[in-house]
Amino acid sequence: MLAYIIRRVAQSVLVLLVTGFVAFSMFSFVGDPIDNMLGQERTQADVERLRTQLGLDQPFPVQYYKFLEQAVQGNFGLSYRQGRPVSEILVERLPATLELAAVSGLLALAGGIGFGIFTAIRRRGPSASTIMTLSLIGVSLPTFLIGILLIYLFSVELGWLPSFGRGQVVDLGWWSTGFLTESGLKALILPAITLGLYQMTLIMRLVRTEMLEVLRMDYIRFARARGIREKSINFRHALKNTLVPVITITGLQLGSIIAFAIITETVFQWPGVGLLFINAIQFVDIPVMAAYLMMISVMFVGINLIVDMLYFAIDPRLRVDRTAGGH
């Protein structure tokens, strides 16, 4: 067990290193931050001076090495745009993204399972087919378009919900939350729907398929033959067996919800890390881009690591097969 974990952790570190290397090799293509940092009346000497100061005159492997050297000490450098420590900015922005992701995730899970069961049970009903058709739209429309449509409907036309921002937030010292105020909660609704819609349709389709599969099983038929109430069959016997793959998928999707929040955050001017990243690209704010990409890859690698270890704990075959030459 320990050897397995150590091996997986070592692999994860390797993945992180490679991700960082690729990221740094790309940064020179993103553009030149100097043009954004100096005004139009700068001289060539100013440009050279700043370039040297930022270490941008070095080849990218050297830049990457310096970044790593600092990063392992917990120092991600200073943002070119804001002139503040990147770690400070990330900590400031992370609550917004995590709250949005959590609400979207819950929404996707609740909505997905609910609609999934409904469409599986009422397979031929008109409302089920309506939901299925709508879900197709949810899958195929790009996120930013859904966001803009929701804004025009609920903010411009109806005037019920705010079109941008996070509303009033309460600062708890280490965490700023929008959960405690009315405007904060209102501001969450549209972005959470926009971000969660795709995941919701995904989960819904998954639940529906699994459910239909399970409902065809013998033990359901026998349960029916025994005269068990339909409600009990659907929710106690069928649903439970449907949920295993759903939970796996949801866990893996949590990472992508956070990562894909970029687009939703841009549309709603949501002050999270995704918006920060988009701003950083526009400004060629290399320290922020590097730290964000590292953070996201750590997250994905971490989630995968946990999932792997869970499999290891659940699935005895992984343990037995060791001597037979791996998997």
Binding site: Q40, G83, Q269, F283
Partner: protein, 517 residues
Amino acid sequence: MRTSLVIATLGVLAAPASAETFRWAGQTDPNTMDPHAGNSAPVLGFLNNVYEGLVRRDRNMAIEPALATEWEPLEDGAGWRFHLREGVTFHDGADFTADDVIFSYERASSAEADTASWFAGVTEVTAPDEYTVEIRTDAPNPIFPDSIANWMMMDRGWAEANNATRPNIEQGSYATLNTNGTGAYRITEREPALRTVLAPFEEWWGDDRGNVTEGIFTPIENSATGVAALLSGEVDMIEPVPVQDAERIDNAEGVDLQRGVEARVMMYGFSQDKDSLVGGDGVEGNPFQDPLVRQAVAHAINVDAIRQTIMRGSAEPTAQLVSAAMRGYSEGLSERPAYDPERARELLAEAGYEDGFSFLLKCPNDRYINDESVCQATVSMLAQVGLDAQLDAIPVRNYWPELRADEYDMYFLGWSPGTFDAEHPFRFLVHTPQENIGTWNFGGYSNPRVDELIPAIQSEIDESARQEMLDEIAGIVQDEMVYVPLYVQPLLWGTAENIELTQREDNFFILRWVTVN
């Protein structure tokens, strides 16, 4: 008794009966609050509400007294004397004196500052007394007062106490997030890239101020979200309004479209000092070295069509590198080369390129209003006279590095003259490229006569002699078609209908000119 009465009356005028909150959104958040660390329109425009210079620009861009009440050229040598306004205090209560001017000079002209170029000719700044400052220059500089409207005054004591005596562009300093100006508004909350809140400075010396008691600025990058925020009444003003949404806002209930003209002139530049084209096909050498070819390009582009279809009617065609509102504009040279494809073909034939040639046209796609569409339209217009432009439209963050690396044959450029004077583009775009001058002359155009005239213009005190020289350069630039000027970029702001404000040509948003009705 009388003074106290006056003060009481002023107090009543300055403090409106009700609280008026004004919320506005722009696309770019100023990246610093340090007026000497950023020489860009978003930074200087925003900080004009908080900090002040010795002089400032009025609604029509003319220079008027601010922290200096009057100024005159020095009698004994080149330079200017400024008489400072007395009784002015900074937001923290400190008095504004000549020493702060000297400090602000040292700070803004230091190697660490982004504004040092404003003081290129300044040799010494002295204070004969507490409210007089003498600025000596190495040569007479008639437009010096015009060129320092954005040179903002910072308190020496405050900067020293907070360890911010020099700006720090790379690492930031206390002044990057905090402000202490003399302006009509002070910043009460600053969350970079999220929200900035301003409140009136009650002890402000001036009286030209609207009724806004709280100003909240939020950057909204996505223009569609910005328009939605305006339409739903969550913000009272957005800038800019995307050109394609202008008509909708114009027609919508409850909101108004404010149209203006920006100082930015859009133009095409050419590679002129290279011996061959980067994207050249079927041609020897560099045809753009020939003024006839550049004139042909000018005649081939239908600026009016671009204005009508791409800019939806809101752009002002121009024949010079500055708009007609700028100081030093050459009145006699306002005729744009007519749209005349026939003439363009003739010129190309005369230059020996009757079969045309292909070349690389470089454009940004996120820098100027509809930049990529304008370039696409240009490609098809040039095709009609036999020129095959290969368009490469890229994000602005890659654009300048590519231009510096000479990866273009023709390119798109917008220029907003920082001094609002015709000399500015000549200095940066037309003078032979050198260390400190001609720094944006990517194409490498070089003309000894122009190089000789520019320093002479910079030190000419006599207005008419100065104008004569400006006219001469403008004439050369036009005859040789060094650049093909197209149009002045429009200024489109959207406001709620109860808002009154002033749009200034430099696209600076001045909060004290806002009245909420």
